[in-house]
Symmetry: C2
Subunit: 151 residues, 2 copies
């Protein structure tokens, strides 16, 4: 399978700074979720897979694990990077990472889908830019990620 | 398998603010890595698995994928959360996430191990706190992650 990411494929380009980036990484915190959903491996796998498809990604591999007595961890590897989740049903909390590359998918759609699917009463959304590139010479800038938005 | 994370298991506690957290999430950027390593699925899987073991984590599942013509994506699910990687051999770049819960492992050790294994000339390290908890009432604080360190 061809990876759907290439240099300068990001639609959003900071023209002023001449900077683009390889990946969008959303760190999501879902609070007050339905505990029974967060403790159901089958449902979590279904929702995470649906989230990938809904946001336009191509699923290539999946692995999910149920912990004793509670909690699910899982990852969907997509052609555009990955979606990962860790749940704490006892706290109604899930930490989710949505990392995508290229223009073909929008991780914000996956975020909204999961927020609704988990019945999250509150949620926060932070988007980072990973792999900053100087478009003047098409070279990576050797700095950490940059925070794009946080709500 | 029992998940190695419990409320207030984090050793580091901000006494002044009465805040602790569920997970440590390191976002690592490795630059100027050896391209042949970054394009070798077997080696990447080996190094990521070793990184988990070196830092004290317990591996529960793994999945890795090789892209055409180059690039590897992969995840190691550990009892303490996950390690994820995406490589761009053509740029000598790897974006790595090291997410751990509990006191039993230190993601900084995994970071140092991978930095050396990939022959990274430059690297950056950002540590986030995921799932902030108010220790006065043992309840989650409904805010985004907090940046602990960035170098």
């Amino acid at each position: 399978m061809e990876r759907k990411t290439k240099l300068k494929v990001q639609a959003e380009l900071n023209e002023e700074k001449n900077i683009t980036y390889l990946g969008r990484h959303i760190l999501a915190e879902f609070f007050d979720c339905t505990p029974n959903i967060l403790n159901n491996l089958k449902l979590i796998e279904e929702f995470m897979t649906n989230a990938a498809v809904e946001c336009g990604a191509t699923v290539v591999q999946k692995c999910f694990h149920m912990f004793n007595p509670y909690g699910v961890s899982g990852v969907v590897i997509i052609a555009e990077s990955h979606l990962a989740i860790h749940t704490w049903p006892e706290l109604g909390y899930a930490a989710v990472d949505l990392f995508t590359c290229g223009e073909s998918c929008d991780p914000k759609i996956a975020y909204e889908y999961l927020k609704e699917s988990f019945g999250a009463g509150t949620a926060s959304f932070s988007e980072l830019k990973r792999g900053l590139i100087d478009t003047k010479n098409d070279e990576l800038i050797k700095v950490p990620f940059e925070i794009k938005t946080q709500i």
